[in-house]
């Protein structure tokens, strides 16, 4: 099972994601955003950071990168596609997930552990979790509030207490099929107790369990 971790200029969580995937036994490889062929991979993760400096809007420039055509192809074929933080913003800008992101309600950059509750296990992020399960995962974002006037996104993780004004207290949202997920907190930063929580393992395990050979 091979997972591609896409690297855009300004992204800064790619090594954490690779570390998390390898810690759970997966084969993970960084791929540059100009890559045009991901056919060797069974899934792809768009990590967090500030791709292209967040110029114009978060994710607006990144979605024009060549690799996004491959991300779209994999999403349409049903392969697991996960966008974390800035990666979720890219998936929204690319139209692969509904909605968009705006600044946190209190205009603060939020950097702390938050508790999220699994509300739906039918997604490539929550496949190894059970509904009702609570997880402690670090949130690290400014443009973190998700809005979706169409109300077509399926919420899979919900903040126990609203930190940022996200619609429906959504911390993670999936598409109808459940193979494309955007998540605002960072599961890859909660992989070991020494980091404050190992609850992220459940989510990364769910992603790995959703992979099927290409």
């Amino acid at each position: 099972m091979r997972v591609a971790v896409a690297v855009f200029p300004g992204v800064n969580c790619e090594h954490d994601v690779v570390y998390a995937l390898r810690a759970l036994g997966a084969e993970a490889q960084l791929v540059w955003h100009r890559e045009t062929d991901l056919s060797d991979f069974d899934g792809v993760i768009l990590p967090g950071g500030f791709a292209h400096g967040d110029y114009l809007r978060t994710g607006a420039i990144a979605r024009l990168s060549p690799v996004m055509a491959e991300v779209e192809r994999m999403a349409k074929q049903g392969a697991p596609v996960l966008g974390i933080c800035n990666g979720w913003q890219m998936l929204c800008e690319a139209g692969l997930l509904p909605g968009a992101h705006i600044a946190n309600r209190d205009l603060t950059f939020i950097c702390r552990f938050v508790e999220v509750e699994v509300v739906d296990a039918r997604s490539c992020l929550t496949a190894a979790a059970r509904p009702g399960q609570r997880l402690s995962i670090p949130l690290n974002s400014y443009q973190g509030a998700w809005v979706d006037p169409t109300r077509s996104g399926r919420v899979v993780l919900r903040y126990v207490e609203d930190p940022n004004g996200s619609q429906e207290r959504a911390a993670a949202v999936t598409n109808e099929r459940g193979n494309v997920v955007g998540v605002m907190p960072h599961p890859e930063r909660a992989m070991e107790d020494v980091l404050g929580s190992s609850d992220g393992q459940t989510l990364i395990e769910g992603f790995l369990a959703s992979l099927v050979p290409a």
Partner: protein, 80 residues
Amino acid sequence: MRVTVTINRRPEIADPEGATVMRALHELGYTEAATVRMDRVIHMEVDGDDADEVRSRVEEMCRQLLANPVLEDFEVEVAP
């Protein structure tokens, strides 16, 4: 041709920055400021002779990149 694009956040979408600026204006005594929205303005120089054609191209740019249709509306003004 000189083109001005105004990107407006839709009224139904929250604008926490605008709300904060409005509260600050109220602090200063300008309580008549009833709504404040932090819109964005993009100034462009666009090659072309036909104003209608330039406008239609720039509107296309707005739909494709400059505005996010989920959050924003846009207005395009072509200088005569």
